[in-house]
Amino acid sequence: MTAQVESELETETEELTVREAIRQAMREELERDEDVFLIGEDIGVFGGVLEVTGDLYDDFGPERIKDTPISEAGFMGAATGAAATGTRPVVELMFSDFAGVAMEQIMNQMAKMRYMFGGKAEMPVTVRTTEGGGMGAASQHSGTVHSWIAHFPGLKAVAPGTAASAKGLTKAAIRSNDPVFVFENKMIYEQKGAVPTDEDFTVPIGEAAIEREGEDVTVVATQRLVGESLQTAENMADDTSVEVIDPRSLYPLDIDTIVESVKKTGRLIVADESPLSYGTHAEIVARVQEEAFFSLDAPIQRVGTPDTHIPFSPPLEQEVLPSGDDVRDAIRRVT
């Protein structure tokens, strides 16, 4: 994986925010394949409620940037039917919490159609959606639900933590013939990073990235917590060598890269904003103990949201949201 990170860095890059990187990914894929279209609420003239689609409407028009009624089940179902019949929809689900409205379409149609039909249906659909607390959006606009999707058979789930992976994963998702959910943490849209300019740059679904090499402890961090963990690692560099891995893809999960790291460091922190119980953390922990139990020198630590909803009031919100400080404390507990 290290080699891959290096090869990415060797290519020509430009500085983009996560938001710009995702928009550029969509722009390139819209240009590359005329079967690709975007569909969702307020993604056209409005430019997306979090301004991700931005000016794409100006360049591609209403035929390819389709504003829908406020009708999550309707457009998720329509995207599913469209994907099965020859086009490649890219859905924007405004907030991931709204997946509840469309869950029937996601779990019983999109996820199951290929399998139930004995492999005789294609499902090249991408669903982009925003997750995460931190902007006072309260419980119905701040959730982190990717564990539901990663858990549910028949769906793939990716969750970028950097601008480069945001672009590369979005492009890979659109090119995939499987349903892929791209979970965008809304607090990192303004985060900048070097992004390869090559129009064929993609991040293969199912490949983690070692964002920082270290010897003492492995931090597997996702989304916003990738950047915060890198900062934590930098802050602790004097006395602790922290390896930071961004799995990038939640399902499938590149467990090999994580296991290899744990075999080296003997310690693991899993940092993900989803609720702690029964989720993403547990999956990574379970797989690591299956394959690297005897390499572990300390109990694995989880950093996440403590099973509450995300409250509105800023002091309450900051109380429950996991941060780089929580990662630091977890590292201190085991090193």
Partner: protein
């Protein structure tokens, strides 16, 4: 290679009607109610549905067919009438009561029966069963186990058609019960707002599962819901294939002209329970018998005889042929090989993830432990 639907019907037709038939000629042949040939084909499909479902019901009762089945008997005029108004490459999205739609669309009863039996030769390689028979290449987007799931699928297919400017339409079948589902409203609203080439056919068989239609809706005519979308809505006699075909044909023309969707409600009746084994405490035999007096197959057959297009003897012969065809389908399904256990791990994705691959390489029967550790 599996015999395709069209090829299959070509073969049947070749043996029945045409000597030395050219495949392309038959594929081009009309299945509509405008010609004698088309009407006889429609009758054949209605009789085939009934024979298929009677046999499926019996075999389910015998325990040969696993799971559960929902039979279409009594509703044949709706599916066949609607599909007679379509071109072969138009799409349909079906319901949990989907056998009739499959046969109406031209699917092959033997691969359907193999699917009901859970065999590898079935349309879905045994993974779908009665509630999920599909043949996307033939325009059949699947029976569906979720009430109200057909309309969003049809809206989606119509979206692809519209986006790629193809000369097709998509029909979403739904039952009267499904009219109460939120996703049905959302799907029709999108199709209406975007003038998509879709038709929504409500099969009002008067019971949503075990509850009467009047206890589930505040409307007498469910097609009145069309007013909410400012699209045409009409209610027709669903026991009359001609009425259904005419309504859907008009709706199809409208859809193809870019004028958007139509709701067609067909008043019909299922002779059997919601599912096989349903004790039907919600209705009495007298009610069933009243509807059977207007049997859609019997009345269409009589009409064809009156027109001089069919004799009773020819009908008897047709029925005997179809019964033999269904017997052969049963035999095919019984004899077909079961899927190999490792096939359970196939078809999840276009690109199989390692999470599944590791189980696929060692099925339980090969000494693997799919429910256990990796």
């Amino acid at each position: 290679m599996k015999v395709t639907t069209e090829l299959y019907h070509c073969m049947v037709a070749a043996s029945t009607y045409i000597e030395d038939c050219c495949i392309s000629v038959w594929i081009m042949a009309d299945f509509d109610l405008q010609s004698t040939e088309g009407r006889l084909e429609a009758l054949r499909r209605m009789v085939t549905i009934r024979a298929f479902d009677e046999e499926a019901g019996d075999r389910f009762a015998d325990g040969e067919i696993p799971g559960f089945v929902h039979l279409y008997i009594g509703e044949e005029a709706v599916g066949v009438g609607a599909c007679a108004a379509l071109d072969p490459d138009d799409y349909i999205a079906s319901t949990h009561r989907g056998h009739g739609h499959c046969i109406a669309k031209g699917l092959d009863p033997q691969y359907m029966m193999a699917e009901l039996y859970g065999k590898a030769e079935g349309y879905c390689n045994g993974k779908g069963g009665s509630m999920h028979i599909a043949d996307v290449d033939a325009g059949m987007l699947g029976a569906n186990g979720i009430v109200g799931a057909g309309p969003p699928m049809a809206t989606g297919a119509a979206l692809s058609i519209d986006y790629q400017d193809r000369d097709q339409i998509a029909v979403g079948f739904l039952g009267d019960g499904a009219v109460a589902q939120g996703q049905v409203h959302e799907a029709i609203n999108i199709a209406a707002t975007w003038d998509l080439p879709a038709v929504f056919v409500i099969e009002n068989n008067h019971y949503g599962e075990g509850t009467a239609v009047e206890d589930q809706h505040n409307l007498d005519n469910l097609s009145d819901t069309a007013q909410a979308y400012d699209i045409p809505g009409l209610t027709v006699d669903g026991m009359d294939i001609t009425a259904v075909a005419e309504a859907v044909s008009e709706a199809r023309d409208r859809a193809r002209a870019g004028d958007g969707p139509t709701i067609v409600e067909a008043e019909t009746y299922r002779y059997r329970g919601h599912y096989e084994g349903d004790e039907e405490p919600y209705r009495d035999d007298a009610e069933i018998e009243r509807w059977q007096e207007r049997d859609p197959i019997e009345s269409f057959k009589e009409r064809l005889i009156d027109r001089g297009e069919l004799t009773q003897e020819e009908f008897d012969e047709l029925q005997a042929d179809i019964e033999a065809e269904i017997d052969a389908a049963i035999e095919f399904a019984q004899d077909a090989p079961a899927p190999e256990p490792h096939e359970a791990y196939e078809d999840m994705f276009a690109e199989m993830p390692p999470e599944i691959e590791r189980f696929a390489s060692a099925a339980r029967t090969d000494g693997g432990r799919p429910g256990g550790d990796r």
